[in-house]
């Protein structure tokens, strides 16, 4: 197979340096998510400082928040919610969206039309209204929050995966496979999926970012994370008043979000080529 030299191609399951860094940061946050609660120097709800938006100090490593609570402890605890909930939600929505999208493209016909219109309709319901209805109907808990986030992002995932799969579905090798009499499951797994995995992964990375940010919006509707706990987005939101002073209370959670989302996307972009480009073996 010819390899045009747009990028250095690597063989084997080898990570490049950037990918390693991304992976290390994700691993770091995952560990914090698990062990964070044992590391907090102060209870997260306790007001430890009379000052607010306090500066970084040896007592309060990341300053204090708008009430005078320790930011370092709050960020450690927030990791659990942000990393856990976002990863779970993005997994569910991407897996559902991609599987449905590929099925719709391969099966086509009424199945495709019905599913597409249904998900279009779902996507047209404003997410705030949807969130409120969920709180009213099911109540508030972490699984409900994950489910809501997943439902909100599935239609977008579906639409993108379907658009990709439709293009592949017209390729000769798929037509050949179909003529061979392969089952739909085979077509999806072996012919379509390997050829769209790159863009799908990129989509996964983006959706992860969106979910991390939407999470705080839904917590403010009263869905899921309850005070004094807060995810990182909520930490930024509640401390936004400190922005004019450049308070660490608003900077650190923002940095935490950025470091996590950028690493996830760097890791995806730098996955070993064998995973990314299975189309070109």
């Amino acid at each position: 197979m010819a390899h045009f030299a747009l990028s250095p191609r690597r063989f084997g399951y080898r990570f490049n340096v950037v990918g390693m860094i991304g992976f290390a940061i994700i691993l770091f946050w995952a560990l914090i998510a698990i062990f964070g609660p044992f590391l907090t120097p102060y209870p997260i709800g306790e007001i430890v400082d009379f000052d607010y938006f306090g500066a970084m100090s040896s007592k309060f490593w990341m300053g204090t928040d708008y009430l005078g609570r320790d930011m370092f402890s709050r960020i450690l605890m927030g990791a659990r919610y942000t990393v856990g909930i976002s990863l779970a939600a993005v997994m569910i929505s991407c897996v559902t969206g991609v599987v449905l999208g590929m099925s719709a493209a391969v099966i086509g016909g009424w199945f495709d039309t019905a599913l597409s219109r249904f998900l279009d309709a779902l996507n047209s319901i404003p997410s705030k209204l949807f969130g409120l209805v969920v709180v009213a109907a099911i109540g508030s808990s972490i699984p409900v929050l994950i489910f809501t986030l997943a439902v909100i992002y599935t239609p977008g995932c579906y639409r993108f995966a379907r658009a990709l799969a439709v293009n592949i579905n017209t390729m000769d090798f798929v037509t050949v496979a179909r003529a061979r009499g392969e089952r739909i499951g085979y077509l999806i797994c072996s012919e379509i999926f390997p050829n769209i995995v790159g863009p799908v992964l990129a989509d996964f990375g983006l959706r992860f970012v969106f979910i991390v940010l939407l999470l705080s919006g839904l917590s403010f509707l009263g869905l899921g994370v309850q005070p004094p706990n807060a995810d990182w987005g909520a930490l930024v939101r509640e401390n936004i008043g400190g922005l004019p002073f450049g308070a660490p209370a608003v900077m650190f959670p923002s940095l935490a979000i950025a470091s996590l989302t950028i690493s996830v996307n760097l890791l995806i972009d730098n996955l070993p080529q064998k995973i990314r480009d299975r189309s070109v073996v």
């Binding site: 209870p43 709800g45 007001i47 708008y66 009430l67 917590s219 009263g222 309850q226 004094p228 936004i240």
Partner: protein
């Protein structure tokens, strides 16, 4: 201001100005400043600055842009339905009331020339003559009768229906006189008529897309949820008012955005700013602050007819577990006055100063919780953005509870629908009560056995009896004694813990003059538009 005195903030400036308004003399002020650690020299210059600001002569002209904090498509120019501060501001600009409250809380006449009664049951209202509506129609008693009667019609959806119900008969006597008959004697009627909802509209008005009132401004444009534009009423009956040529009002719901708009000069008044913006505003010479503490509070309600509030010891324990000082200092950054679990504010003449707030005492709280047998149980506390600062207050109590082994579970619920779904309903929840002009209104709305908003389901025959006894009483000293006793009853027996009275701080451009504190709330009791002027 001289930056050498770093702990002197704009809030202190506002305090000095307030003191001067209340009539404090120079010596008292100096004393106040000395206590604050100021030298007499520096103090002198600050006083000079404050009095100069007050004494400046009003100038006419200019257009003002001001921003409140909430507005929606439900914005209305119908005074009976007014519910947001934004509505109050607009109603005050376009309409007048029969009476109003001045900055000392005393009742003054506005459209009425007099409101009199010999028995506090049948009242005679005499109207000012020569007042006209914006459309040129003359004000007569028919307009007043129509305006007041509307509150009794359930189809109108008046917010003060429950207060207006006591007016059993409203009848015109002649063109400028009317009689109001009450179901029972009530000496507070002149004060009740000063509430924003009792603004006077023209007889027969049904359409509220434009406002036709007697007020200082004529409504030029009103888009609910967007903004209103008002121009000066050239035929206004009050001498030389208003000073502004035009007045635009809208809401910026984001706290930070509202302050930023003021700092960038897009608006000249940002109502009700977040206490945490103080640090930013203090470094800005072009901004002044106006502080009011008028009886607004957020309270923790424990229903006495449901577990765990059924056990009196739980309620007692929670009152001791509230760290009022921390709520005042950390949650509200000092912009609050510590309260004593009853709703009458220190600004009221009926305030019982002998009733001290319960001190924060976790040991006593623990003792009561143990007695009630609730220690170790997980008790949900419902809080929401809808009730100002309630989520922060809830976390303060929660943490205090965690330290003595009392597990309180904060449940944040959406502000959407909070008042109809959680308030008054959940066993332990937060409420938020706006200032009311009289103890009678507060008690009948909130604590009488049949009160529509009996937040903790407090029922006491003795309390009900005292309430009716005081209501018809024209002797103020006796009334004060009774109200004092009732305040003690509420603080000790009811399931409502009121930690602090929340101050309101409006930030204004230093060019905007004439804004004074009012007991009815921020923005000069929402009526500032008529009284303020812009310096060139």
């Amino acid at each position: 201001m001289d930056k050498k005195f770093l702990n002197w903030t704009k809030a202190d400036d506002a305090m000095v100005e307030n003191a001067i308004r209340r009539g404090a003399n120079r010596r008292e002020l100096l004393q106040m400043l000395m206590l604050g650690g100021m030298t007499a020299m520096a103090g002198g210059s600050i006083i000079g600055r404050s009095t100069a600001a007050l004494a400046a002569a009003p100038v006419s002209g200019g257009s003002l842009k001001a921003a409140g904090w909430s507005s929606s498509t439900a914005d209305t120019l119908d005074p009976a339905k007014a519910s947001l501060s934004t509505d109050y501001v607009r109603c005050c600009a376009f309409y007048n009331r029969l009476t109003l409250l001045d900055q000392n809380g005393a009742t003054q006449m506005e459209l009425a020339e007099s409101v009199n009664s010999s028995d506090a049951k049948v009242w005679t209202v005499k109207l000012r003559s020569g007042v006209t509506f914006h459309d040129g129609k003359k004000l007569t008693s028919a307009d007043v009768v129509y305006s007041l009667n509307r509150h009794l019609d359930p189809a109108v959806g008046s917010k003060v229906n429950s207060i207006a119900k006591q007016m059993t008969d409203i009848k015109a006597v002649d063109d400028l006189t009317l009689n109001i008959t009450l179901a029972n004697a009530n000496a507070d009627l002149p004060t009740i008529l000063a509430m924003h909802h009792f603004m006077i509209i023209a007889d027969g008005t049904k359409d509220f897309s434009k406002a036709n009132g007697t007020g200082a401004f004529v409504c030029e444009n009103f888009e609910p949820g967007v903004r209103s534009i008002a121009v000066k009423n050239k035929n206004y009956w009050k001498e030389s008012k208003p000073y502004l040529d035009s007045f635009e009002y809208f809401a910026i719901s984001d706290d930070t955005a509202r302050v930023n708009a003021l700092l960038s000069g897009d608006i000249q008044l940002a109502a009700s700013i977040n206490p945490r913006a103080m640090r930013l505003l203090d470094s800005q010479p072009s901004v002044a602050l106006s502080k009011t503490t008028s009886g607004n509070y957020t309270n923790l309600n424990m229903r006495l007819d449901m577990a765990p509030g059924q056990k009196a010891d739980f309620v007692q324990g929670m009152k001791y577990l509230l760290n009022r000082e921390q709520i005042q200092k950390s949650v509200l950054r000092g912009l609050a006055e510590i309260a004593n679990d009853q709703p009458v504010s220190p600004a009221s003449i009926y305030y019982n100063a002998d009733l001290k707030p319960k001190a924060f005492d976790p040991d006593k709280a623990k003792f009561h919780f143990e007695k009630a047998g609730v220690l170790g149980q997980s008790i949900p506390i419902v809080a929401s953005e809808a009730a100002t600062s309630s989520i922060d207050m809830a976390t303060v109590v929660q943490q205090a509870g965690a330290n003595i082994g009392m597990k309180l579970d904060v449940q944040r619920v959406p502000s959407d629908g909070y008042w109809s779904n959680y308030w008054l309903k959940a066993p332990v929840h937060f409420g938020n009560i706006n200032p009311r002009p009289t103890p009678d209104i507060l008690f009948s709305l909130l604590y009488a056995s049949d009160a529509p908003w009996n937040e903790s389901q407090y029922k006491s025959e003795k309390f009900d009896k005292l309430l009716i006894e005081a209501r018809g009483m024209l002797d103020q000293a006796k009334r004060k004694a009774i109200y004092g006793e009732m305040q003690v009853m509420i603080a000790e027996e009811a399931g409502t813990a009121i930690p602090v009275f929340i101050s309101n701080v409006d930030a204004i451009s230093s060019k905007l003059k004439g804004l004074e504190a009012s007991p009815l709330g921020g923005q000069m009791g929402y009526a500032f538009a008529e009284y303020v002027w812009l310096e060139a």
